[in-house]
């Protein structure tokens, strides 16, 4: 009996985990005007609503702007930091690592409140740049972790081989090291983008009505005016998550293949 109980239970849990997400798909095509299922009929009205609404489009635009900015900033700073950490055992390394991982450990609400208090003083509490800085800070640790993992599994002999074959250290880095750790860097960058795009709590504190991001706009929609356009926005966000997940898996598999052949 146990034999079937565990797999059956697990499958139920797995179905539980994924199904709520799909419930919003049919809802977004509903021709009704309230958020209920089953849908009375099908219509694209809510998507029209979304794409023709200044509010929603501007929110989406903001999310992409902040997302890409975060991706680049966190990507570059995080990658540099990972290299620095991996390069040598400098004094204070442990402390630095602890400091850099704090944004992951501190509850997001505390981070959001603190940044709100501090950024208000400097005057960036209601700006997209403030949001970019905030998102970079919470996304960078993940970039550091991903790139560091890539670096630590990098076979140093590859670098030594390149040097022994006559490559100047910079050339060796460019031709041998970078291609091998690129999957890790890209994976980290994608994660940084996703973290920023989906982020809501900090956005609640640090954006004003002119700079709402997509999640912030959805939150306002849920709290204040319950329009099914939200479900259209939600579907769009889910589709974007699919795309990001797909690319990450692609990059991860390429990384695995490269690693497998170098660590013979």
């Amino acid at each position: 009996m146990m034999r079937f109980a565990v797999p059956a239970f697990a499958i139920l849990v797995l179905v539980f985990m994924i199904s709520p997400i799909f419930v919003i798909f049919p809802l977004s095509f509903s021709s009704g005007s309230v958020l209920t299922l089953p849908v009375p009929g099908y219509s694209l009205q809510w998507y029209e609503d979304f794409f023709f609404s200044e509010r929603w489009l501007s929110a989406t635009k903001n999310s992409f702007i902040v997302g890409f900015a975060t991706m680049f900033l966190a990507g570059i700073l995080g990658t540099m930091a990972a290299f620095g950490i991996n390069y040598s055992d400098f004094r204070g390394k442990k402390l630095i690592l602890a400091a850099l991982s704090l944004p992951m450990i501190v509850p997001l609400i505390v981070t959001a409140t603190s940044m709100f208090l501090a950024f208000s003083i400097v005057g960036i509490a209601n700006s997209l740049s403030g949001l970019v800085i905030a998102h970079t800070i919470i996304a960078a640790p993940y970039v550091v972790i991903t790139v560091l993992a890539s670096l630590q599994t990098f076979d140093m002999n590859l670098l030594r081989a390149a040097l022994s074959l006559g490559a100047h250290p910079i050339t060796a880095f460019r031709e041998v090291v970078m291609p091998m750790i690129m999957p890790g860097v890209i994976a980290g960058a994608i994660f940084a983008f996703a973290t920023s795009f989906d982020e809501l709590v900090i956005a609640i504190f640090i954006t004003g009505p002119g700079q709402f991001t997509l999640p912030r706009q959805m939150f306002a929609g849920l709290r204040e005016f319950l329009s099914p356009t939200i479900s259209a926005a939600a579907v769009i966000m889910v589709l974007l998550s699919f795309v990001l997940l797909f690319f990450t898996e692609l990059v991860r598999q390429r990384g695995e293949r490269l690693k497998a052949s170098s660590n013979e």
Partner: protein
């Protein structure tokens, strides 16, 4: 070594320490002759790999100097040294094809495209991998990968080839095959090769000379024959090939090298050779190789009897084990026809050896 040609590489009084206290390599003096195949042999941590790394330029000596063709190279960065290198895990660039891997050093030397493809093709043919140019390292077997690594290390006509335990990851048969391949390559290319390994059979079969390392120092350096037949101390004697180690006390000394020793475990006095002077009553270790001990007819002059503890079948020969304790047991090799098929453990046989095959070393620590 040809006295006319100056040595290719000279290590003079080289030390290497990572923490300032323990020296991984100490007081190293080594000369590598041009075009010779020199093997650095020793257990893990003996300093052989560090020595190779210092020659390659990946480590810098803490003291002493390294010269190549008469000029100091300690300040020359690795990428300018022009030495080919082969690693144990091949270190082939996974994102490049075999041909691109080989082309890499030629590109670094700004050689023209057509000449590159020419030399790549020729070198691949030398290692018999001509059809593998477009494969990726992931698609190669261990043996093929190692041959590509070898090819990559010679395609640019280096001044010397350094190999760090290149065959360690291969299985036995492949390893033996590759040993011959490398030897053939050395012969064909006539290039200096420095080889590091912990496998003494490899050292014996491939090298012009062998340097045995232990504890950061060279214990002995010489031709394989010298190393095997005339080990300078107990460490070399037990590291090179198989060797028995028996406890004994000196009973008689003379003017020459031959002395008499009483073997405590076998209750017999035997004739042995000692390269150093010994005192009567001194505790010593007698080392004799399994193939140098023979079964003799009863009553042979200078022989002794011993009870067989075990008979082990080795396919093409047998081994007889005498003596119970692990500390002092004697194993000998015999061909099937040398003994009676009815021989069983517990039986007594007469054993004899030539005095010059039994070497005497100080009891106790490894060095003599």
């Amino acid at each position: 070594m040809n006295q006319q040609t100056p040595p290719h590489v000279v290590f003079r009084d080289v030390d290497k320490s990572y923490d300032g206290k323990n020296r991984v390599v100490s007081g190293l003096n080594l000369e590598i002759a041009k075009n010779e195949f020199l093997t650095l042999l020793g257990p893990s941590g003996s300093g052989k790999t560090t020595t190779l790394m210092m020659l390659a330029g990946f480590e810098a000596p803490t003291a002493g100097s390294i010269t190549f063709e008469g000029r100091a190279i300690t300040d020359v960065p690795t990428y300018k040294r022009d030495f080919g290198m082969v690693f144990q895990n091949y270190a082939l660039f996974p994102h490049m094809t075999v041909a691109e891997n080989l082309a890499f050093p030629l590109r670094m030397r700004k050689i023209g495209k057509s000449e590159i493809s020419d030399r790549v093709k020729k070198t691949l043919d030398v290692v018999k991998l001509g059809d593998f140019a477009d494969r990726k390292p992931l698609q190669l077997s261990g043996g093929q990968a190692q041959r590509v690594a070898l090819a990559r290390s010679i395609v640019f006509d280096p001044k010397m080839v350094l190999m760090d335990e290149p065959l360690g990851a291969l299985d036995k048969q492949l390893r033996e095959h590759m040993q011959l391949e490398i030897k053939r390559l050395h012969h064909e290319l006539n290039i200096t090769m420095l080889y590091v390994t912990h496998d003494q059979t490899e050292a014996l079969t491939m090298s012009d000379r062998v340097a045995v390392f232990n504890d950061g120092k060279i214990q002995q350096i010489g031709t394989p024959q010298e190393m095997y037949g005339a080990p300078a101390n107990k460490f070399v004697a037990s590291f090179m090939g198989e060797n028995n180690s028996l406890n004994g006390k000196v009973t008689k000394t003379g003017s020459g090298n031959e002395i008499s020793v009483y073997l405590e475990d076998f209750g017999a006095e035997v004739q042995v050779t000692s390269s150093r002077a010994r005192e009567v009553g001194q505790s010593v270790k007698v080392m004799v190789r399994p193939e140098d001990v023979h079964v003799a007819p009863n009553g042979t002059q200078g022989a002794f009897t011993a009870k067989i503890t075990d008979i082990v079948y080795y396919g093409d020969h047998l081994r007889l084990v005498f003596g119970a304790s692990a500390e002092s047991s004697l194993t000998i090799r015999v061909q099937h026809h040398e003994i009676s098929a009815a021989l069983e453990p517990g039986a007594e046989v007469t054993l004899k050896w030539q005095p010059e095959h039994a070497l005497v070393f100080k009891a106790g620590d490894v060095l003599d």
